[in-house]
Symmetry: C2
């Protein structure tokens, strides 16, 4: 597929041989399909965005590029590296403000919200981030900016450095968990979630009170969804409160 006349178009494939005049004209331009690392990474991101992590396979990326899986390996060592490249690529869009000691906590909150949004829009990237220090050319700037915000909080160095880790892990894990819930239960609507929560609540309340007094007491808040961001915000706030207790400011 993807002969000179129509490079990288998955569904074209005219079986007719290329006419001679076209062939000579092509001799100058890159006649081969212009495969490149950048194109591959972008195709991968597109798949991640539209079809999720499980749909991301080397064969699928290659197919979207109008070629075979083997061709990718000339530009990318393996799938792991591809995912890592995609990860760093997406960090271009994470922004961070100039640290302001007066409102550093709110700034951290905003930065984490933004990071979460971006990870959410590319299901599978969260999974790819876990267990890695994403220090690509873009990632390293993000980390620098994040550390700047934490340092504005006048925290002990060790607290600032380690808290960065913990908070980042929380954000990533939060998105990953959500991804998994999607992939298990399907992309449930808010109503479906509420319905499921209601069911669970009913189940909890049917438990023997003498054996499960605490779950019974907490059944309502436990299954109060809090909207799509409520619980995320709560956890973020919990950690920021913990940080505040370290701050000398």
């Amino acid at each position: 597929m993807a002969e000179p006349a129509a490079p990288n178009q998955p569904e074209s494939a005219p079986p007719a041989p290329v006419p001679p005049w076209e062939r000579t004209r092509k001799a100058k331009a890159p006649a081969r399909t212009p495969l490149s690392q950048e194109a591959i990474v972008e195709a991968a991101l597109r798949i991640l965005e539209t079809d999720g992590y499980d749909a991301l396979s080397m064969r699928r990326v290659a197919a979207d590029l109008g070629t075979g899986a083997a061709s990718l390996y000339a530009h990318v060592a393996n799938k792991d590296e591809l995912v890592k490249l995609a990860l760093d690529r997406v960090f271009v869009d994470v922004s961070f403000p100039e640290p302001d000691p007066e409102r550093w906590m709110e700034q951290v909150r905003e930065m984490m919200r933004g990071t979460r949004k971006i990870l959410q829009s590319h299901p599978g990237l969260a999974r790819a981030m876990l267990g890695r220090v994403p220090m690509g050319p873009n990632g390293i700037h993000i980390i620098e900016g994040f550390m700047g915000l934490l340092r504005a909080g006048d925290l002990p160095d060790r607290v600032a450095a380690w808290a960065g880790d913990v908070i980042a892990l929380y954000v990533v894990a939060n998105v990953f968990e959500e991804d998994i819930r999607f992939s298990i239960h399907g992309e449930a609507s808010q109503e479906d979630v509420e319905a499921w929560a209601g069911e669970m609540k009913g189940y909890i309340k049917s438990l023997p009170p003498e054996q499960f007094p605490n779950m019974l007491a907490l059944a309502d808040p436990m299954f109060e969804t809090g909207g799509p961001d409520g619980r995320f915000e709560f956890g973020l706030d919990l950690m920021l409160r913990g940080l505040a207790s370290h701050s000398r400011r």
Copy 2:
């Protein structure tokens, strides 16, 4: 394995037909290989424990049981259910104390340490927990106990309920991240980790100071490993400090 007449032995397979006397003897006892859900779950846990998550495949479980993969599906709907069953099975070993309002925070700490240890000893279970509410017959008791501890902290109901989620997510994510690091870099020894940290620290310190002032300032604590538990304890403490700020006690 090690049955009377040696069924379930992957490498035995005597091609000779079973002698008649043996055959009649068999008629009473369960002649078929005594496959059961329990045996399958236990085999799965054994694999998880010794060879990690990536080694856990239906074929491998079946092979360890001296049978074929298809046989498992009579007792287990699919791999996902198998993992879920294994998850609940392992929760038998999680213990939790009688809530003591005087030291509830320390009790939470201990319970989370124990949970982490158990998850660590079965790589892959952490992954299986993400995105699930592990409410099996055992899991539900664990949750009840955990909620009891949090309630002993005299927190607002919503804070207690949601904090349980957040803290559990943190513990699981922490172990999962560690698992992944293992599977990427191999089971690195403490010295390897220290060596890698030293390398990274050197790299950070070689960065242009005007572009990366914050990372430079935090390079040392950032790559101070803190031992195998240091960072986990720090994160746990961070969240408990946040909880303390909610406590009415």
